[in-house]
Amino acid sequence: MAMSDLTVGFIYVGAKDDFGYNQAHAEGAAAVKALSGVKVIEEENVPETVDVQNTMESMINFDGATLLFPTSFGYFNPHILEIAPKHEDIRFQHCGGLWSADQHPGNVGSYFGYIGMGQYLNGVAAGHASKSKKIGFVAAKPIPQVLLNINAFLLGARSVDPTITCQVIFTGEWSLAVKEAEATNALADQGCDVITCHVDGPKVVMETAAGRDAFVCGYHANQSPLAPEKYLTGAEWNWAEVYTSMIKTVQSGGAVDNFVRGGLQDGFIKMSPLGPAVSDTARNQFEATKAEIMKGGFKVISGPMKDNKGNMIASAGESFAEDDIALESMDYLVEGVLGSTS
């Protein structure tokens, strides 16, 4: 009886079958639904306005939710921070926020994964597949999470061939189909022959790039059905794993940490199975790098390294590992990335 009392609410900023960010979370929620003693409630297309505040309170007041997963980054400040202090017995688990004990309520937690390492592995596959030595990245906005992905993608490719460059195009919006398609075409026009992205729903980028005969690397979720021949691999969230373990902790009366981070080795992220276009050499280096990352503490940025404006970002001997909190406020693009942060 007491077990069945746990009602968990998931809130998504877009459609939960977008082949991307929201689908990744919805797949996690689907795994939670399969657990016994849990009732899952969901709401999609909730904007980052007073709407989400009302949605959270509505789930609490009308459905008796005691654990909420508002999954969009923009839900954190001010919305969760506004609502959480009014409901001290409710737990708010937020994806991506930088929770700190001295600034934020104790019933709020934040979790995120080192998906940049997945983009590094994407880069390794891309580096082998690229003949033009130019790879492309369709990005939404120049924010730390996106910049880290772009940098990691290039650095992964440069671990194969240090002459590779990565062209980035920002679309300015998290979801804007026509602009994403135009950006992909512009990359292909400039000769980029492997393309990945960081937008909410990668479907359009994958299909357009494959249509231009470029290879693609996925992001957020597995997009291989969209371009089976051209799909190399993809950096996927593994929220099913993360959410089920969090729910089990709560069910057994334990406390989930307020600040949770994890990588490939913790099962927070996973890689799509390698596609048919990946060569054996590529496969070998991909697996070797993956094994290296699985050890934990992978040094994604290691000096000496400059950004693409010539400023030193890591001097010789200095390095930033995947779990370095400094990476979560990244504001540069590394040397070799063609594009600017503003």
Partner: protein
Amino acid sequence: MTDTTTASFAPRHAYLALWLPRIEAVVIPLAALISGLLVFSLFLLALGKSPVEFYSLIYKAGFSSGFSWKNTLSRVAPLLFAALCVALPARLGLVVIGGEGAIVLGGLAAGITGAMLIGAPAGIAMLMMVLMSALVGALWIGGVGWMRVKRGVNETIASLLMAYIGIALLNHFVEGPFRDPASLNKPSTAQLPDALRVGDMPIGIEVHWGFGAGVVACILCWFILDKTTIGFAARITGQNIRAAQVQALPVGRLIIGFTAAGGALAALAGFFEVSAIHGAANGSLIAGYGYTGILISFLARHNPLAIIPVAILLAGFEASSGLIQRRMDLPDATILVLQGIVFVILLLSETLYGRLAIFRPSYWRV
């Protein structure tokens, strides 16, 4: 016919002539609203869903308890201002559909002004935020009116184009020159201190002052439109622009003034979003309130007083969207379908005005 019968009939006739149109103006929209809800019930029945459950969920989520009223009323403020931005120019016969641009730029102006005045006396800083916000909105939509007067540019298209440009400017400034470096994954202007945040009204539920200000703005606009000579001149212009010109009414100044006022009001929606909700200007200002405002103003037949209940009703629909998704397993677009159907039927009902004998004084002269 003797004098006495005429005398006893005249006040009765005047009474009917005064009140019948008013009754008509309430009965027809109400009947249309109910018909719309009935048609939507058929839609639900065709899908095998229960209309009774649907409407009781709307009542529960939007209007039944303290929380549900908060759920509804906390959404109303920007809708009121956005609708006024349509209703004021509409009085002159202009169709302005780009209020969204004034909302986002008004919010941006408030955010930047507040960030620059951190440390100044709170009262002055807050006043400056309001003024700068209103000024930017007035220039933006007033500019549309100016282009109409000076160049004959169609205001509907111009305002739509300006809305897209305004959104681009907001994104540019929020992610570029005015970005607070501390706003990591959600680019924003600098966080406003508590002193520059608008609080809740003392009415027992958490609804910020934007709601009160919006209601006052609607009443003021109604007063100006219905009770002053400016409003009278505007109505003449709206009915026949050439006649207004012949009567030497300042048509150009009226157009620029009304569009500017509408823009200033829409910008206040942005100010309240920034100061009461977000605490900084950012991309969340682009929430489509401007477009919902068009809907509300047309439903209210551009009558500022009617805007208030219509906005509350629409907000109540939206407040129930989540519960309907969760309880009835219907998609979030269900509320959009409901709004569409109700809107279509309400507009259709306009054809009934003056046609029903029951609302004519002659019908009652038995």
